[in-house]
Subunit: 234 residues, 2 copies
Amino acid sequence: MTSLDAEPQGLAGTAAIVLLSGGLDSATTLAIARERGHRCHALSIDYGQRHAAELAAARRVAAALGTVEHRVLAIPLGEFGHSALTDTHIPVPETPTRGIPPTYVPARNTIFLAFALACAEVTRARHLYIGVNAVDYSGYPDCRPAYIHAFERLANLATRAAVEGETVQLHAPLIDLSKADIIRRGAALGVDYAMTVSCYQPDTEGRACGRCDSCRLRRAGFAAAGVADPTRYR
Amino acid sequence: MTSLDAEPQGLAGTAAIVLLSGGLDSATTLAIARERGHRCHALSIDYGQRHAAELAAARRVAAALGTVEHRVLAIPLGEFGHSALTDTHIPVPETPTRGIPPTYVPARNTIFLAFALACAEVTRARHLYIGVNAVDYSGYPDCRPAYIHAFERLANLATRAAVEGETVQLHAPLIDLSKADIIRRGAALGVDYAMTVSCYQPDTEGRACGRCDSCRLRRAGFAAAGVADPTRYR
């Protein structure tokens, strides 16, 4: 029932909720959902992350790739602190970290997927997409296949649709891909990665630091994929 | 591992996150968590419900029962509409309904529990409490035992604590109780139900309509429990 890696058929014309951060991974995920023929409702979460550049990127990507709707929800995840992405007192690491990095946001994907499920319920969509990948982000617990399966199982008990006998599928098409694989896949689908922002601490014009975990993974990914890196570094 | 109905031991002094709506069920749940000796962090969600009376009741209950913290998070669930509780264009039914009632809020408990999990993560609490019950609310998919088990399973894959080998327990101590059972239990624990608001459409002073599903269940519960009903009806 889950669709972590397959190339499912018969999706053309069906509605999907796609979590869209404005980064490289979620842009590629949206391009894959569009290629499968979904009518895509993009959902971005303004959760008090350090930078508005990410949400501006999400708007560009949603417009460029063709969505039927782009909803931006403001939620007070920043109030919880405890993450370098929402608490400016915690520095973004600029050297590789071991274990779960300080950029981990408590329960983030669970909260994002819960809102995606609510969106699915009101739009009668039966497909959710999230751009997690377990290869580069193995330090984040909520990016792993077991987590994705568990959320899908929950979704199929949680909603009116479930009671009425319909199933929800949670797709994580990048889960087994390396950053280079993702970039090759997106480039083949025509994604313009110049629109995306991956940096954890971009400047006000959206230019990347080139030093944080996310920048390093992204830069190495373009190099390994043999694709020119369009990122604007400051 | 789940604690749907047992009377678990050894909880004294441990931290718990208790979802607190201001209604009868969640007040009883908080009283049970306090009786077990938890240090309770109450969490209320301002989700655009029709009435502020419910949140005012939550504040009274949190203060009366003794919590170490009461956090109120504003989340934009009302933007989704599609529920009589968040969309004033959908009438609250005043006669019994069949199936899932129009007061069902899409993915509500999944969203609430996701935020409770985030709270647990930042406070290092290992216990979550929710006052769902499957007897009176069998029409709501996200109040059933299978749903509670699935969320607990998800929680134990989702967080930093899970990766570090600690487990989260989701307690739903009311799940098998009727409304009368809940009232008897709470009354025995000294809960003053005059503080609580269950009505789906109270007036600005918190007085109940006496006609909605929630009022009818509550009134019948007091009668069946043989406990004087302290509800202020308008």
